[in-house]
């Protein structure tokens, strides 16, 4: 289901007369099965952008369509909310039910799905985030660990079987182990065919996961391209207060000293491979 932003501008209802729009003329297409990383400085419009994808916010001018469905239509919006799962920052803070199973069932139930179907959806959704229904299903979500709670919250969004998953800073507040596990989870979900849109301020996470990166600045699209392409523009990114992955930086420093790698490594593993192959070819030449 392609997601289209057609010259979208959004201004929050002016409270004190400052009508600086949060999004300015954003034109964007997200193809099926893509993993899009969204980066930008605080206040660059990342959160505003993703809330347009399922109609929580409606464009002031321009149009957002999901699968060709215009989100202005109220009944269509409900359908789009089923197709696009939105996971907010710290999603574990939205858990409320007595048991994990109840909480995950909230979405399907709100959509009015039959009870028999719901249980299966809950089991599958928990399984997809790596939790066992029999083990955690009957427990209170509040007695789980932070990482597990976040998984439950994501399962709650997956329960309606959306084709697109939108996540706002899914790694925020996780320890390195939890972070790695979350990366693995998102990678798996993406490989299962989900379109994933992830907002993150961590360039390592974006580099490790995304196919394409959207850079926002002051609400406008600053750059949009393949991950390696975007991260090859170190100076420009630095200028707008963003970093580049460590591996890319390392490769750039090597290049500055005359060691040119033939690939654009974005992760430490890819960097190691690139250096290894550069050494090999160097030896062969020598």
């Amino acid at each position: 289901m392609p997601i289209r932003f057609d010259h979208v501008t959004y201004a929050y209802p002016a409270t004190r007369g400052d009508a600086q729009p949060a999004l300015v003329d954003v034109d964007l297409t997200v193809a099926d099965g893509e993993f899009l990383g969204v980066i930008g400085h605080t206040g660059s419009g990342k959160s505003t952008l993703i809330q347009h994808i399922n109609g929580l916010l409606l464009p002031t001018t321009g149009r957002v369509t999901v699968d060709g469905i215009d989100l202005v239509d109220r009944t269509a919006r409900r359908e789009v909310r089923r197709r696009v799962g939105l996971v907010f920052q710290y999603p574990e803070h939205q858990l409320f039910a007595d048991t994990v199973a109840e909480d995950v069932a909230f979405g399907p139930r709100a959509l009015g799905l039959p009870a028999g179907e719901i249980e299966q959806l809950v089991i599958t959704a928990l399984e997809r985030v790596g939790l066992d229904f029999c083990e955690v299903g009957h427990r209170s979500p509040f007695e789980l660990s932070g990482g597990q709670m976040r998984r439950v919250a994501i399962a709650g969004v997956l329960a309606t079987r959306p084709g697109t998953l939108v996540l706002d800073e899914p790694m925020a507040g996780l320890d390195p182990v939890g972070r790695g596990a979350m990366r693995e989870l998102l990678r798996t979900l993406h490989h299962q065919g989900l379109t994933v849109i992830m907002v993150s301020h961590d360039m390592e996470d974006v580099a490790a996961l995304a196919d394409r990166v959207l850079v926002l600045r002051n609400g406008a699209v600053y750059a949009c391209g393949t991950t390696s392409d975007v991260f090859s523009h170190h100076a420009e990114l630095r200028e707008i207060g963003l970093g580049v992955p460590r591996a890319a930086l390392f490769a750039a420093r090597l290049a500055a000293r005359g060691v040119v790698l033939h690939a654009h490594p974005l992760t430490v593993e890819a960097l190691a491979d690139a250096i290894a192959s550069a050494c090999t070819s160097h030896r062969e030449v020598g």
Partner: protein, 264 residues
């Protein structure tokens, strides 16, 4: 309602001693009810008008702050208009006849109510939550000898006020998150709507507790221990303007009493 929506500016009203402002606002609200004829009402509104013009609060902001209570004012007006049947009939609207008695009572009640709300809003707009808490503490201080924990009460008040906007934001966030999962807050009857609130209320309570825990840790790690030996950055000292305000209010009260007793 209007509390906590402070409008930062530098006006006479902003600079007033919060203790005086609090007392004057409360006394003014009582004085409003002394006015029982047109002349009294004009005096009451004139006092308020002067206060508003001195406050530096833009009229637009004041009006938008009052929008939620406007419904109540209009409701009061209509109910009085329709149900009071004293005096001469003025006009018939279908089965309802409006009488002079109804009209004047309706006008009185609505105006008094409006004055009440404007006064409260003005207090909120010109007094920061810190000042408000300081003022309350100052007013309660004499009662400390009777065991009233003045400092603690004002600390509770200022924390509560400080957290209104935070919890409002949190509520919006949770509602957005739940509606992204398919929750519907816009349609349905009273019962389904009430049920829709639960998935918002529980996370909101959790977040309030989380904030409380963070805050208490932060206060403890800064060695906060209540009133004992605390000094203030801003010592409250009444200035000439505070006494002028008291005098103005006293004059208003005297004039209203005089009007009532027929001395004027």
């Amino acid at each position: 309602m209007a509390l906590g929506q402070y409008h930062k500016a530098d006006s006479v009203l902003h600079r007033m001693d919060p203790r005086f402002k609090l007392v004057i606002a409360v006394v003014y609200m009582l004085v409003i009810f002394l006015a029982n004829d047109a002349a009294g009402l004009v005096l009451v509104l004139a006092f308020l008008g002067v206060a508003v013009s001195l406050s530096g609060v833009p009229a637009r902001l004041l009006v938008s702050g009052l929008r939620p209570v406007l419904v109540l004012v209009v409701f009061t007006f209509v109910v009085n208009l329709v149900f009071i049947r004293s005096g001469e009939p003025v006009v018939d609207i279908g089965p309802v006849s409006v009488t002079t008695g109804g009209l004047s009572t309706a006008l009185f009640m609505a105006t008094r109510l409006l004055a009440l709300f404007v006064a409260t809003a003005l207090l909120g707009f010109t007094t920061s939550s810190v000042d408000l808490a300081d003022g309350m503490e100052g007013l309660l201080a004499p009662f400390e000898r009777f065991g009233v924990p003045a400092h603690e009460l004002s600390m509770i008040l200022s924390i509560a006020l400080r957290f209104i906007p935070i919890l409002t934001m949190e509520k919006d966030r949770i509602m957005r998150a739940q509606s992204a999962r398919g929750a519907d807050f816009e349609t349905g009857n009273v019962i389904t709507r009430f049920r829709a609130i639960l998935p918002v209320l529980t996370p909101l309570f959790m977040s309030a507790f989380r904030h409380a825990e963070d805050l208490s840790t932060a206060m403890e790690s800064r060695c906060y221990h209540g009133k004992e030996g605390r000094t203030r950055v801003k010592v409250l000292r009444p200035a000439a303007r505070d006494w002028y305000a008291v005098a103005a209010l006293a004059l208003l009260g005297a004039a209203l009493v005089a009007l009532r007793t027929g001395a004027l």
